[in-house]
Amino acid sequence: MNAFSTTGLSKRFRRKWALRDCSLAIPRGRVAALVGPNGAGKTTLLRLAVGLIRPTAGEVTAAGAVAFLSQEKPLYQGFTLAETMRFGRELNPSWDGDLATARIAELGLSPKSKIGALSGGQRAQVALTLVLAKRPELLVLDEPLSNLDPLARHEVMRALMAAVADSGMTVLLSSHVVSDLENTCDWLVVLNRGRVQVSGAVDDLVDEHRLLTGPAAEVDAVAARTEVVDRADAARQSTLLVNGDPGPLSPQWTRRAVGLEDLVLAYLRSPDAAALPRPTLTSA
């Protein structure tokens, strides 16, 4: 069961395509990372996902209530914390007041404090509380960790992961810092130049990819046996990041598992490579 899917999703701003024919699906309960370089179309995809903008072509389907936290984590600066929570309650019938109260207490903040007087990390936590207390089935976060110090990043991630454990909601979050996502995300979507390059479960992707290092003389033969994502050649030695099993290799070759970060970097370096779910044929 998918919590979120797009088919042929495209968005053009004036003459420039920000997103082109993007089809992906994220199963329910996943924490999906949307990564890609700046300008890859991440924000466009997320804003389409929550209906802030309309697609030029294609469609977006989200199962259930969606909450969105934009990169700037906007809040009304003049409001107190209590007023901010009242804003959430008044504008959302699904508001979970107990959750909001518990989170504010956990943060050790007074309901009377003004939003404008809070630190960046505290504001991020308040903005997160505002979206979590809506009890969404799909939570969409645009660069939730940007502009935060390392401690605040960790605190925000802890809160987010605890909320996922608690509610089983699906999360779709974007980032251009892959190391933030290791251990937290179990689904990966790589977006590059407005197109989806990779979409899949992190465990599967890590299992399917491997790093092969061996003599340059044999590299072409090995490369021909499987799908090469990225390749680096030195005078005597070559390194291949491959998708799939190349079969038995001569003893001069070593194979190593690939980390999430290496995987993402390899795909971003090779915009033509792709790892997408193969279409499954069902008999009529």
Binding site: V164, N183, D186
Partner: protein
């Protein structure tokens, strides 16, 4: 209550780190049969990791028969690891061995290399 920690640079998969830590705690007697493991929420609220990772680790422990999940209650230790009676004795012997090794002029690296080599040899003996 067991407190997990994470070595983010070890290269070992996170769920395996959790599995190893539970096993380590079982070997050392920190965890005993009947003990409750922390809930996924408790673990992720501490480590900021994906809850599915914790569930995967607990499933692995269940698969090995070390833990059992009771719906609505949590995950509990089903059986211990290693014979704790022998444990203290082995530990004392290892202490003595380490002292000997240091006295023979072996550094930490040398000790580890020797330890790993012997471990690999004896592993071979057992399977052979």
């Amino acid at each position: 209550m067991l407190i997990f920690h994470l070595d983010r640079r070890s290269g070992v998969a996170t769920y395996l780190q959790l599995v190893h830590q539970v096993k380590q705690a079982l070997r050392l007697g920190v965890l005993r049969p009947g003990d409750k493991l922390p809930t996924a929420k408790e673990v992720v609220a501490e480590l900021a990791i994906n809850p599915n990772t914790v569930l995967k680790a607990y499933r692995e422990l269940e698969r090995e028969g070390l833990a059992i999940g009771r719906p609505g209650l949590g995950t509990f230790i089903e059986r211990g690891l290693g014979a704790r009676a022998d444990h203290g004795h082995l530990r004392t012997a290892l202490h003595a061995w380490f002292r000997d090794a240091r006295a023979a002029g072996l550094g930490p690296e040398d000790i580890r290399a020797l330890f790993d080599a012997v471990a690999a040899e004896t592993q071979g003996e057992r399977t052979a």
